[in-house]
Symmetry: C2
Subunit: 108 residues, 2 copies
DNA sequence: AGAATATAACACCTTTTGGTTGTATGTCAA
DNA sequence: TTGACATACAACCAAAAGGTGTTATATTCT
């Protein structure tokens, strides 16, 4: 057993703009590495490294098809981010934050 | 004019677990640096650096009160993350993703 | 004024990230 | 089976992240 203890957490994975762009591309279509790499001004190898990080975060997965490796989106781990965000949502939609700060100010 | 072009984007800011914990602490209460630092097993200097990064992302702000500097949460920038997430939400709650992949498979 | 406390500002070290190039391996198609 | 294409892998490099400690500087209290 022993929990896998996610090697790369989702927050780190989505911290990079390049990786967010990759996710967006894969949201449109499954794509092979070469097609993904064409969208960026960097080497195929560099892109592959980003794909590895995204794979370790389980945000994408790749299947081999002939000589190509097709990557596909796996959005489920993003729920973790959503949950985390949920905690702070109460601070902006309504006036809770403002209220809280007023209370704080009163204490002084 | 000329967009400020956020020096540190929100995604980078929340990528670090320590910084997420700082946000949580400040969500409960405004706190001085020393009180924040007490919650971590690292030097006050290190904590200050995290506070700087969060400040540059405009997630927190500090006001000087006497000889202390009190930090307070500023959750608004998190809306950017929420919006980004919104784009992917359609891929998990409902069956859209599954549907999309079925369509893709049919193409082959 | 002088002591105590809180934060700021350096200088420095180590690990991780993001990128490069070069080489090898496997696959398809003529 | 040979040539073109697609990915894999290793070695290497530069810069940024994350951490340390030491030394100022400012504020409060006695």
């Amino acid at each position: 057993m022993a929990a896998p203890a996610e090697k790369h957490d989702v927050f780190k994975a989505i911290a990079d703009p390049t990786r967010r762009e990759v996710l967006r591309l894969l949201a449109e279509n499954d794509r092979p590495i070469s097609e993904i790499a064409d969208h960026f001004d960097m080497s195929r190898t560099a892109v592959t490294k980003h794909l590895q990080i995204l794979t370790e975060a389980e945000l994408i997965s790749g299947r081999k098809e002939g000589r190509e490796k097709i990557y596909q989106l796996h959005p489920e781990p993003l729920t973790e981010v959503k949950q985390w965000l949920g905690y702070y949502e109460k601070f902006w939609g309504n006036k809770l934050a403002m209220l809280r700060h007023l209370v704080e100010d009163d204490k002084k």
